[in-house]
């Protein structure tokens, strides 16, 4: 068992963003996290990645308690993440952006550069290595973020709304890329998404949260049929109407 | 005992002047979240106007107040329209060196025109006169300055909280996007904030010129005092600037009694401690 989240609670002032969430993630699987807007998906993500300190509960990664660890420590331990808003370094070239990730594991510039080039090649970005990321289309920027995260040699990769802003063709491409790197790098994936085609096709298993609580868990097809889930997204009337 | 009361009175009087100086900075920050490095230089302009009008015209320095305020207003609005408006949308570093450049420009312009010589106002109704209240002796100019500061504060407070214009200003400071949708001319509001900021601080400068040296480099010191005051009072709070100003005045005077060479250091240290340990200050958001 790779990741274990036990009774996670995160409160902001009086607001309970995550209330007693528990789940497990097995090595090598692709786990999806879905839920309506405001359900607490980002909060959960940020708690695991170290950007928020949980108010209660525990997070164990490969048996180690990483609850409350700062982000850089979480990454060094082997969990990488991408961001919803895309946080590219605008003043560094594409290759340099990826090198930053590689520098997590080495102090040597040549090694970092070699690693970066390999990953760029894997992602099909070799042609853009010397360019500045801000001039590139969104799909390419997403791949750069992905490349950067992989450069830190994670064992678990968390993806925050990777498909946001991509058209169906780009979404398909990125799914392929994702599957390729998962194979190459032996990754475990944990992703959160709004774009249903993306997450339901890619995930082996899905967790649904709503209003800060986990309401369902299981293979995508099953979960999509559950009344509670439909209710959370579309309201009671639709759920009953089915 | 006498000395202590004298000190406290002096501290409060100076503090009120500091409060007025800080008011403009707080206002500008409240409305558009930009910090004006050139704030002290606007004050310096007020000082020079008071100096010039009283030295080269037979005009009492007291009467130069409205001119100083007017010049400050103009300077604020022009600065906004020519420079600030263009850097607002840029990266924060650009904003910083925009107002920093403005500061340098004004500082060295003054140095060029007036040379670094120290000047002071030699005559006027208030200059050099002392008032006696009971056993306390205070400079007439300081008392009147304090009075004008209180009036100015009241005027600005009234404008912000009791007029429609003030409401528009407050709306812009809370959410400028939303304000724009409501039909508020946010560009005008920003310019107004800079205008009032410039006017109040230049007014303070004209007052200060009655009893403080006029040099081209005086700006930075007061910019820092203003920062310390605004930080202590809370960025964006008018009441905060008032109270914090008085506190800072007292701190300066008291520490000046013990180690006069370091009296400003204490103010700088206050800024440092406040922003690190209590960033909201006393009343800020």
């Amino acid at each position: 068992m790779m990741l274990e989240v036990k009774n996670l609670v995160k409160e902001f002032g009086g607001l309970v963003a995550n209330g007693d969430i528990s789940f497990e993630l097995q090595r090598g699987e692709i786990l999806g996290l879905i839920g309506p807007n405001g359900a607490g998906k980002s909060t959960l993500f940020n708690c695991i990645a170290g950007y928020y300190k949980p108010t209660g509960g525990n997070i164990l990664f490969e048996g180690k308690n990483i609850t409350g660890w700062p982000p850089h420590q979480v990454t060094r331990e082997g969990i990488a993440r991408t961001f919803q808003g895309m946080k590219i370094m605008p003043n560094l070239t594409v290759e340099e952006n990826v090198m930053i990730g590689a520098f997590c594991r080495t102090g040597n510039r040549q090694i970092a550069r070699k690693e970066a080039r390999e990953i760029l090649d894997l992602m099909g970005l070799t042609g853009e290595a010397e360019a500045l990321p801000t001039g590139l289309p969104i799909a390419a920027q997403k791949r750069i973020e992905l490349a950067r995260a992989i450069a830190t040699r994670p064992r678990l990769l968390m993806l925050d709304e990777m498909a946001a802003g991509l058209n169906p063709l780009e979404t398909k491409e990125i799914i392929q890329t994702l599957q390729k790197i998962k194979e190459e790098r032996k990754l475990t994936l944990f992703l959160t998404e709004h774009v249903m085609e993306f997450i339901m096709t890619v995930s082996e298993r899905v967790i649904v949260i709503a209003a800060g609580k986990k309401i369902a868990e299981g293979p995508p097809v099953e979960v999509a049929r559950q009344e509670k889930v439909i209710e959370a997204y579309l309201g009671e009337r639709y759920a009953k109407g089915r | 005992m006498e000395l202590t009361v004298q000190l406290i009175v002096y501290g409060i009087l100076m503090g009120l002047v500091f409060a007025l100086i800080a008011l403009g900075l707080s206002l500008i920050f409240g409305v558009m979240n930009i910090v004006n490095f050139a704030h002290g230089e606007f004050m310096m302009v007020g000082m020079y106007i008071a100096y010039l009008l009283s030295t080269f015209l037979p005009l009492d320095p007291l009467l130069s107040l409205p001119f100083a305020a007017g010049a400050g207003y103009l300077l604020g609005v022009v600065s906004y329209r020519l420079l600030i408006h263009h850097i607002l949308r840029g990266p924060m570093v650009a904003q910083l060196f925009g107002t920093f450049g403005l500061m340098l420009f004004l500082r060295y312009l003054a140095m060029y025109i007036f040379t670094p010589d120290v000047r002071s106002i030699k005559q006027g109704i208030l200059v050099g006169k002392t008032l006696s209240i009971g056993w306390i002796n205070v400079d007439a100019s300081k008392v009147v300055s304090a009075g004008v500061c209180i009036l100015a504060f009241a005027a600005v407070y009234w404008m912000i909280y009791r007029t429609k214009l003030g409401r528009a200003l407050r709306a812009t400071s809370i959410d400028s996007e939303a304000a724009k949708y409501m039909g508020i001319d946010t560009k005008g509001m920003n310019a107004l904030a800079w205008g009032i900021g410039g006017a109040t601080v230049a007014l303070a400068g004209a007052l200060l010129a009655h009893f403080y040296y006029v040099t081209p480099t005086v700006g930075m010191l007061f910019t820092l005092i203003a920062f310390a005051t605004v930080a202590l009072g809370g960025f964006g709070s008018i009441v905060g600037a008032f109270i914090a100003g008085i506190l800072i005045g007292l701190i300066m005077v008291v520490s000046g009694q013990f180690v006069s060479e370091l009296k400003f250091s204490f103010i700088y240290i206050v800024y440092f401690l406040v922003v690190i340990f209590r960033p909201r200050g006393l009343f800020g958001w």
Binding site: I88, R148 | L102, L262
Partner: protein, 333 residues
């Protein structure tokens, strides 16, 4: 080891035009004292190299680090005072005095950085101002460092390499050039190193940097500490070049401003920025002053510089180097 040397000295990653430009620059600087024999000309060149030196150091925090630091003069002061006092009190040879100067500046920077990096942007800039001003007032207040009277270093005749005092500006020229090159090649190493990249990553996006394993706080503190040490080096030079220092000469606000300005206009964040900035400001300052004659009206040079700064803030925050790069990119297309 070989790799380290390559990292320090190679510019292979920069375009050829830059490498050639730098080579030309170095050649000019090397032969300068023989081509220009006027005392004033030589003094201008030495001052230019000194400010290029200061600029390179400041570039770490201000350019690569993206944090505007307006208190670098305190570090210069630490270096200057360490050197001056050790020479005057204990007759310590110059090159040994350099070490305590750097150590003190770095240590103070380290200590101050911890609380100060809780701040960002304008608040940080003002805090750096406050710290530097407090130190300056302290140095004026303290009698044991000479107070406002300063410290005078006794003049030695002839050519003295122990205390780095010389009877001809040519020696000082190569002396400062040596220090400049030291810092320049350090910067060259820095910008390619993991630390250099980490610093830039933090500047560009803190959250992303943290997600890539970078300890953001520690990176900022280390960067600021190094900047402090580098500032002290220039201060030590100032002590033995001017032979007289006081708080107003080595730690004033104007010096901090000048250093920051030089880099910001030249191009913060690029290795050439400080050199370009100093190359414009120092001759402008010294020659405009001389040209305006005996009635030197102070300030016009800074006014021009300030105007340039405001224009740059509005149009091209990357400074003159940024403009050059933009033009080059347009040309390449």
């Amino acid at each position: 080891m070989r790799q380290l040397l390559i990292d320090i000295f190679s510019f292979g990653d920069r375009p050829r035009f830059e490498r050639i430009g730098f080579l030309i620059f170095i050649i000019i600087v090397l032969v300068f004292p023989w081509m220009v024999t006027s005392a004033y000309g030589r003094a201008v060149m030495i001052k230019f190299l000194l400010f290029a030196l200061f600029g390179l150091g400041w570039n770490l925090i201000g350019g690569y680090g993206g944090q505007v630091d307006l208190g670098q003069a305190k570090n210069v002061g630490f270096g200057a005072y360490a050197t001056a006092l050790m020479i005057v009190w204990w007759k310590v040879p110059f090159w040994i005095t350099v070490i305590p100067g750097i150590v003190i500046a770095a240590a103070e920077s380290f200590a101050v950085a911890y609380p100060m990096f809780r701040l960002k942007g304008h608040y940080f800039a003002i805090a750096t101002l406050c710290v530097a001003l407090v130190w300056k007032e302290l140095f004026i207040f303290w009698d044991w460092t000479g107070g406002a009277r300063g410290v005078e270093i006794p003049i030695r005749s002839g050519v003295d390499f122990v205390y780095m005092q010389f009877n001809s500006p040519i020696y000082y020229h190569y002396f400062i050039l040596f220090l400049f090159l030291l810092q320049f090649f350090f910067m060259n190493w820095f910008r390619k190193s993991k630390l250099g990249y980490d610093v830039q990553a933090v500047r560009d996006n803190e959250d992303a940097a943290a997600s890539l394993g970078i300890n953001v706080y520690r990176t900022k503190v280390i960067n600021y500490t190094i900047t402090g040490g580098l500032g002290a080096l220039g201060g030590s030079f100032m002590a033995v070049y001017y032979l007289y220092i006081d708080p107003d000469a080595v730690m004033p606000l104007d010096l901090s401003i000048l250093i920051a300005m030089t880099v910001m206009v030249g191009g913060a964040g690029s290795i050439w920025g400080p050199i370009i900035g100093a190359a414009i400001l120092i001759p402008l300052d010294m020659y405009l002053g001389a040209w305006l004659g005996a009635q030197k009206r102070l300030g016009i040079d800074f006014m021009i510089y300030a105007m340039i700064m405001m224009v740059i803030a509005a149009k091209e925050p990357k400074g003159i180097w940024g403009i050059i790069e933009r033009v080059r990119k347009k040309g390449a297309r």
